[in-house]
């Protein structure tokens, strides 16, 4: 059986990687063009980054330590996996456009 929780966390790590690339580019541009637009891009990407870091933290602490929580979280893990994979696809497209 596929461990959806682990797959979701792998997708979250991928998201963090993609967001690091995007934030890197946006920060480089922000250093040259200081505007609401460039700051906004950095802010949005950073908030998405926080979201994915929270997912990884939830998995490594709460999920791993609490057996009861682990069981109930596993029941909905495929939803979390679907959400994260869709985000990975979206971010891949964004990073592809950004780095062209």
């Amino acid at each position: 059986m596929v461990d959806f929780m682990l797959a979701a966390v792998v997708a979250a790590f991928l998201n963090i990687g993609l967001l690091l690339v995007a934030i890197g580019t946006y920060v480089q541009n922000m250093r040259v063009i200081r505007s609401y637009y460039t700051s906004g891009l950095v802010l949005v990407a950073s908030l998405l980054m926080i979201q994915n870091v929270v997912i990884v933290l939830f998995w490594s602490t709460l999920y791993m330590d609490d057996k009861a929580l682990m069981m109930s979280a596993d029941m909905v893990a495929h939803y979390l996996f679907a959400i994260n994979v869709i985000q990975t696809i979206g971010l891949s497209i964004l990073v592809w456009i950004t780095r062209r």
Partner: protein, 157 residues
Amino acid sequence: MQNYLPDKFFKNSQKEFFISDTNSGHSVFATTITLPVFSFPEIIPRNLFSFSGTNDGQSGPNPRFKMILWFIIAGTKGGINRAKILNLIKDTPMNANKIATVLNLDHKTIVHHVKILSKNDLVIKAEKDYAAEYQLTKIMKENQSVLEEIMQKIGTK
């Protein structure tokens, strides 16, 4: 129901006609009401999904164009150089080689940037020649104030 919807939705929707009753030999007056037929052009305004470069009589730059230009310049890796290219050819059209010399950049880099810019309808090749000069498109020329605003923010950096 008719009171709440515009008349055009009920155009040809209500029909009155006579049906001849074959059993009794009398004609029967019948009214049928068919549901209004919607077509997408009626509900969704035209040009909602298409991007026309005109300002439709509004003053100032087109907000949608402004967003595209900001993203291409501030949201992509080589955006700053793209802005410099646009700023360079806004008055005098130049070919890729000349742009590379003036901006002190690699010829390949310039060709790549110009390709992205022309794909996004910001620059156009004057003729189909290898050393053809690039110039701003009509829509880019109409919204040059956005480029000037961005160039001011870039400054001399």
